[in-house]
Amino acid sequence: MILAIIFFPLIASIITGLCNKILSIKIASIICTTSVVISALISAFVFYRVGICGEVIHIKIIEWLNVGGIHADFAMYIDQLTSIMLITVTFISSAVHIYSVGYMCDDENVPRFMSFLSLFTTFMLLLVTSDNFLQLFFGWEGVGLCSYLLIGFWYKKDSANFASIKAFVVNRVGDLAFIVGIIFIYSYFGSLEFAYIFGKVPALAEQKTQVFGHNFYVIEIICFLLFIGCMGKSAQIGLHVWLPDAMEGPTPVSALIHAATMVTAGIFLLARCSYLFEYAASILGFIIIIGSITCLFSAVIAITQNDIKRIIAYSTCSQLGYMFLACGLSTYEAGIFHLYTHAYFKAALFLAAGSVIHATHEQDITKIGGLRKFMPITYVLFWIGSLAIMGIFPFSGYFSKDLILSSAYLSGTFAGDFAYKCGIMAAFCTAIYSVKIIVKVFHGKQSEKIHHIPKESPIIMNVPLIFLAAGSIFAGLIGKNILDITTPITGFFKASVFTKEFKLGSHTPFSVEIMPTIVAITGMLIGYIAFSTNISSTISKLFRPLYKLITNKFYFDEIYNYIFIKQNDQLSQKMNFIDNKVIDFCGPVIVTIISYNSAKKISSIHNGLINFYAFTIAIGTVASLSILVYKYVL
């Protein structure tokens, strides 16, 4: 029955995918949604068994590879970390499935959409329930593939196609590092299974090796490469360029993939390999730096964006920075807790934005306004999500964010201090941009650009939203108090994440505890005032160059274009020339020319004269006769 968690969505996806044109929209939606909901219920049951009762489930499904020394199975390994991820993935996925039944109601390609959503769910579940690196990588690649398919779902739009390819290629860069990391793991540990590797890590902690002439610790190299993979998948700075463009896909896709599940695969990998990362202290420091830079950087960009989905996308990027920050500080529990709460409120925000888009068919917030009267439920849900992301007590974001920032403060290292400062500033910016959306979309006077009256979304779209909003409210409380997530080692995650030295001993001072809330409230007020009036546009005109820099995303895309894409273009043109004119010429063309000309010459032997033919026959006969005579008679 536990296998049904993975296989129900898979079968539903295959059925809907193959019978794409045959099934009606209703039946396809019902098949996929029911399968995912069943999967969610079973994972709730598993969560009870594993998370609360504390047992670990390990089921081997089928043996996959047994070549050389590599041994990998398809297996389901569910410990506490996996169980919480299962809950997150399946519940958010069911919510998105139900929501998209309403959202995509006027699209004719719904069965394909549902199939891809379920396929994505399957791959994500394979990823989180894996017990070896190979299956994890298989799920990793699978979710990348589904992301590509879903971003480019409306394939008739050019921008969607470009965005999906960009997402896939940037992911690939990370995957390359991941693969090299796996190869390193195999060559030093001799196996790809988690249990074996994690047991052997202390033995290899001191081993060094030579790379490009410098000495490095083996564990550090491995962790560095794995982290690059995480950077690609979770859109950290440097490899984050695909996330804003990924908003070309439908809004349910953004909610599921780019808010709650796929981008969190990186954090999951970090937490799962916590046994490895704990022995690579410098890499942990590196992770902290990267995480905090991303956090601040995306939050700042989000302030100046004007597209609803893009603001929320950068917000996701920023919150992911928080999670990486937490993992870098060795408080993996805090990171996963923030992942869990973030999934709820980010998905709620995205789906609420989807309601707005569905009602007004417009994504630019400067063009819409005053929706408060027409869509009250959406307005309330948006506020709930925003308060959760800002970290106001008692919404769920408060607990997780507070925990992360406290650990950053208490860590005492340079990286921790830097992370604390970045985190506080990012919290400030978070409040600003969250309020920006609310003010611009829901307050203010109604825009004249929208001609029809926006209606509230149908009930089928609002029910999942309400469920997610409830999650954003209560998930934090449940996590901290009931599940005891935040207590390390003896708390919720018993042996699934590992911390080498238990750093947090002292109590956090009250000023540090209250700081995020103060910062958030300040930001909220400032943002409200700035965006309701004209102060925001005045500021943007005053600091025009800085504003331009930030609005253009710090010109990351342009820089990458210049460094990589242009060189690639030139190289590929040269290669094209070589391929067409040189290789093709030496190959088929030359053969054609030679065979044609020689055939022409040879066929001139057939001059049609019987004389000549008879002559040739005679020569042949006499020659063979002479040979025989020479051989046998003489």
């Binding site: 002559f615 005679a618 020569i619 006499v622 006769l625 002479s626 008679v633 003489l634």
Partner: protein, 205 residues
């Protein structure tokens, strides 16, 4: 007895050289006939008189006569020896030389080793004539070969006719089947003639 062999064989060689070197094609055919006659004499020497007579009847009486018909029917210009094929001719002559040497070598080596053939199926008996003995085995042991050669001759006959038959233009022939298979619709057309109008202006099909 040997003298006859040498006589006829030398005549045969000479006449075959005459076949290939005569200018006039009719002369060529006549030399060919002479060759056949000489060969028939050789056959008689070998004791195969039926074969000899058959050669004269079939080769001379039918094939050579056919050659003569065709030679005289076609307007063959007396051809000159083409000098541009001189290179060809030299190679051809060498080829022949080699061929003859080969043959002589083979014959010398094969027949001097005194190997005997072990199957002595159909013995030629001194009491029966050649015709009798051939007839005894041709229609019994070699019946299939006989029938097949008959088929080949039939094929040749049919082939010749097919190759050379010509349709003459302007000759009307009757096809009885077509004539019998006429229908009313293609033969008769009944037209109502209007009164006081007459048969002028009627469109016949």
């Amino acid at each position: 007895m040997a003298i006859f062999f040498y006589l006829f064989s030398s005549l045969m060689i000479l006449s075959s050289i005459g076949v290939i070197t005569s200018r006039n094609p009719v002369y060529c055919v006549l030399w060919l006939i002479f060759t056949f006659l000489n060969s028939s004499a050789i056959f008689i020497q070998l004791g195969a008189e039926f074969i000899a007579m058959t050669i004269i009847i079939v080769y001379v009486g039918a094939v050579a006569v056919l050659f003569l018909f065709v030679v005289m029917m076609l307007n063959i210009n007396l051809a000159e020896i083409k000098s541009q094929l001189l290179g060809n001719r030299i190679v051809g002559a060498c080829l022949m030389f080699v061929l003859i040497i080969d043959f002589i070598l083979i014959v010398k080596s094969a027949l001097s080793s005194n190997s005997t053939i072990s199957i002595f199926h159909n013995q030629a008996s001194g009491k029966l004539s050649n015709t009798h003995s051939i007839g005894a085995i041709l229609y019994t042991d070699y019946i299939i070969v006989f029938q097949l050669s008959g088929l080949v001759l039939l094929l040749a006959m049919v082939g010749c006719i097919v190759l050379t038959v010509r349709k003459r233009e302007g000759v009307e022939k009757q096809n009885a089947h077509k004539q019998i298979a006429r229908t009313i619709e293609e033969s008769i057309e009944i037209i109502k003639v209007k009164t006081r109008v007459g048969v002028n202006g009627i469109n016949y099909k």
